[in-house]
């Protein structure tokens, strides 16, 4: 039985096994449509974006050479922050997902891409693409959920340690790129005495250290030194850009799986999962952020988290186009398409972090009132009279 089925309202109780397979067929069809229409326009989009990002980064770094002047500091820091966000989100994250592999351009390919982040691409791809996207929101399997240090569901036993989880979360947000590197390394698990000696772990740790060294040297040594008299202000500019980038990416990513209304799953529930059930889990385990095109761009289109989780390898610039179709499927199958504005979703995610830092039932009102869910339970698929709970496969 899934965690969600233990809740008062089981959100999938009304779906038969057949419904869920039909859902899979409909989603596969949407996927095929996008694959068939990928082409020149999409290629021009990613190439243009990469060019813009690199020009912005170089330009901002050049401006920062004179960062002693406040306007130069401001413009350079803003530009560098935006460049770093674009590089990590809309470009790096998505390229490493293989969203652009179909172009067969070795320069824009998941196997060759390296990003401006503490975690080496290879390790991030393993923990993110293979673990998080496969075991989305499965407690105990998906480290993205609370990164192994937080309580993310009522079903997880409360311990006093969790009282500090709002603090952990804030620290993690500030140093997010290092947090990612640490959990890609599974540091918590691997720092036990026995594991620490494992040559495989040591090799990976060495890779991370090499990467961090190069990153730190770039942002905190070479670039400031090149700025001559502006060295201290350039250093602060780079620190600021990295901090803002970390806070931003952390917020966006927290909105993907943390807001109220997002479901979590138990390990048992995914045994023998069918394709339709996998899709269903992605649908219930993700939340979107609504907003402008600019927001979607800066969020790396992870604001279409639901669409991204259904189709992690479709080009991100197409998520917006399929979102209405996906929302329609949610409505027709009587499921909740969780979405909300950025401030609402961030607040919702934080309130969950805070609520779960306390023992269950401590803040009853919050539990009962999901903050940011848009609920469309209108059902146009006529249900058969008797339904078996489906996600409880096996």
């Amino acid at each position: 039985m899934t965690v969600l089925q233990k809740k008062a309202i089981n959100p999938v109780a009304h779906l038969s096994a057949e419904d869920i397979e039909n859902l899979g067929v409909e989603l596969d069809a949407i996927r095929e449509q996008i694959i068939a229409s990928r082409g020149e326009r999409d290629a021009a989009y990613i190439r243009g974006l990469i060019k813009t990002q690199r020009t912005l980064e170089l330009g901002s770094r050049a401006v920062l050479l004179a960062s002693l002047l406040p306007p130069a500091w401001l413009a350079g820091t803003a530009g560098l922050t935006i460049a770093k966000i674009l590089e990590n989100m809309e470009i790096g994250h998505n390229v490493m997902h293989g969203q652009w592999d179909w172009m067969r351009d070795p320069a824009i390919h998941s196997t060759s891409w390296e990003w401006d982040n503490a975690s080496p691409a290879a390790q991030w791809k393993h923990s993110h693409n293979e673990l998080h996207h496969t075991y989305t929101n499965v407690i105990g399997r998906d480290n993205d959920l609370g990164y192994g240090i937080m309580r993310v569901d009522e079903d997880q036993r409360w311990r006093p340690f969790y009282l500090a989880q709002p603090l952990w979360n804030l620290i993690n947000a500030c140093f997010f790129e290092y947090g990612i590197a640490a959990y890609d390394l599974e540091l918590g698990l691997n720092l036990t005495k026995r594991r620490r000696r494992d040559p495989e772990f040591r090799a990976r740790a060495a890779q991370v250290l090499t990467k961090i060294k190069a990153q730190v040297k770039k942002d905190y040594v070479v670039h400031p030194l090149l700025s001559g008299p502006s060295a201290p202000t350039t250093l602060v500019a780079n620190l600021t850009a990295n901090l803002l980038r970390n806070l931003w990416t952390h917020s966006v990513i927290m909105c993907g799986h943390f807001p109220e209304g997002v479901e979590t799953f138990s390990r048992r529930s995914i045994e023998g999962e069918t394709r339709g059930e996998w899709y269903l889990r992605q649908m219930l385990g993700s939340a979107n952020i609504s907003g402008s095109d600019l927001l979607h761009l800066m969020a790396g289109n992870l604001s279409f988290q639901i669409e991204h989780h259904l189709f992690p390898d479709l080009p991100s610039n197409r998520y917006k186009e399929i979102a209405p179709k996906i929302e329609d499927i949610f409505a027709r199958y009587g499921l909740t398409y969780t979405t909300g504005s950025l401030p609402r979703q961030v607040a919702s995610a934080w309130s969950k972090v805070i609520r779960l830092s306390l023992p269950n039932g401590f803040l009853d009102e919050v539990t009962e009132q999901p903050l940011a869910t848009v609920t469309r339970l209108a059902r146009t698929v006529a249900p058969a009279p008797r339904r078996e709970p489906v996600a409880a496969a096996a």
């Binding site: 990928r38 082409g39 020149e40 326009r41 999409d42 290629a43 021009a44 060019k51 690199r54 020009t55 170089l58 770094r61 293989g98 592999d101 179909w102 172009m103 067969r104 351009d105 070795p106 320069a107 390919h109 998941s110 196997t111 060759s112 390296e114 990003w115 401006d116 293979e130 990467k211 190069a214 990153q215 040297k217 770039k218 040594v221 070479v222 670039h223 090149l226």
Partner: protein, 365 residues
């Protein structure tokens, strides 16, 4: 060549050390990318990989064009008869194909290729219809051994058909002055389909070579009987032939039977697929992708279709540019039907352009 270069390299000493420092700083700032990745944005011909810019496009026949290309940094001079590979984006997808160089080497800084659009041909149709001056294409340096020996033979015979004229045109434009006795038999459906028809006929009129045009529409397919009749001293001539697989196969068996197989040099544009069978699932282990590999489709195409970065070259079994390790499974050589088997861990090197899956396979890519 190499020694003079080392001796005259400017900037040994202080200048070179300075260059080294600049490069190290540039590397440190560009990380995790390379400085070249930024350079690529403004100077694609001087970036990290060899590229070329199309300078001009000249129609040859109704379905063939000549592209004059300016190669960027990393180009090496070719020998006439060799081919290059060019990479173009068709519908956003980078595709590589081989084309023979039709220009002589050292014609300033440009080279040319001549492309004939084939029915349903993705790259050839794209180039013939959409190539424009200014377009940037990927390039691979010249390669191939369909070239004349340094000691030029006294009597030569060129046998070409259709777009098979291209490597030979490269040779004629470069070497004709050094060749005394050349007969060129060229087959095309009709007179107006002959690529470089005007130039060839002018050379013939000037007495530089003997041109024998064969028009399939009126003369029927070129047979060895007809060839022997047209070129009575065929056995005395060193021959270079390029054209459709059928013509080349006929020529090869003819020369073989006559016991003069070593006189014939051939160039193929595509492999002859003879043996097919049941396919299997193909897993690209590093990419973590599994797709169905039909028994008659080269693994190269299967991988490319799945977005895997497949190394490739001539795409027809001669250059070994497509060799990758088969970690496990069985593949079939599409030319001969021969099966190659790899037990787990064997990592047998296979040519993906002429191998198809013959059961489940795992490829280490």
């Amino acid at each position: 060549m190499l020694t003079t270069m080392t001796v005259t390299t400017p900037g040994r000493g202080p200048l070179r050390r300075l260059g080294g420092h600049v490069r190290r700083v540039a590397d440190a700032v560009a990380t995790p990318l390379l400085p070249q990745d930024y350079l690529d944005l403004i100077a694609p011909l001087h970036g990290s990989v060899l590229r070329g810019r199309i300078e001009s496009v000249h129609p040859e026949t109704r379905d063939a064009v000549t592209l004059v290309i300016r190669p960027g940094r990393g180009w090496v001079e070719h020998r006439p008869g060799q081919y290059i590979r060019i990479g173009v984006d068709v519908d956003g997808v980078r595709l590589w194909r081989a084309y023979s160089l039709t220009s002589p080497p050292a014609t300033g800084a440009t080279v040319s290729i001549t492309v004939k659009a084939i029915a349903d041909g993705v790259v050839s149709s794209h180039l013939v219809r959409r190539a424009r001056p200014g377009m940037i294409v990927g390039l691979d340096p010249p390669t191939g051994d369909f070239t004349l020996p340094l000691r030029r033979p006294a009597k030569l015979l060129f046998i070409t058909a259709g777009s098979g004229i291209t490597p030979v045109m490269g040779m004629l434009r470069s070497h004709l002055d050094e060749l005394d006795d050349v007969i060129h038999v060229h087959a095309a459906p009709r007179r107006e389909d002959v690529i470089f028809g005007g130039e060839l006929r002018a050379l013939a009129r000037a007495g530089r070579l003997e041109l024998i045009e064969h028009h399939d529409d009126t003369d029927g397919l070129l047979s060895t009987e007809r060839l022997s009749a047209l070129v009575p001293d065929l056995r005395e001539r060193e021959a270079w032939a390029c054209g459709p697989a059928g013509l080349l196969a006929t020529l090869e068996s003819f020369y073989d039977t006559a016991g003069i197989a070593d006189r014939l040099h051939t160039e193929r544009f595509r492999p002859t697929i003879l043996a097919t069978g049941a396919g299997g699932s193909v897993t690209f282990t590093r990419q973590g992708t599994t797709v169905q590999g039909p028994g008659d489709v080269p693994l190269l195409s299967v991988g490319e279709g799945a977005g895997v970065l497949m190394p490739s070259g001539c795409r027809m079994g001669i250059c070994f540019g497509c060799v990758v390790p088969l970690a496990e499974g069985t593949v079939r050589d599409l030319r001969s039907g021969a099966l190659t088997h790899a037990a787990p861990g064997d990592n047998v090197q296979i040519q993906t352009c002429i191998s198809a899956a013959a059961g489940p396979c795992r490829i280490d890519l």
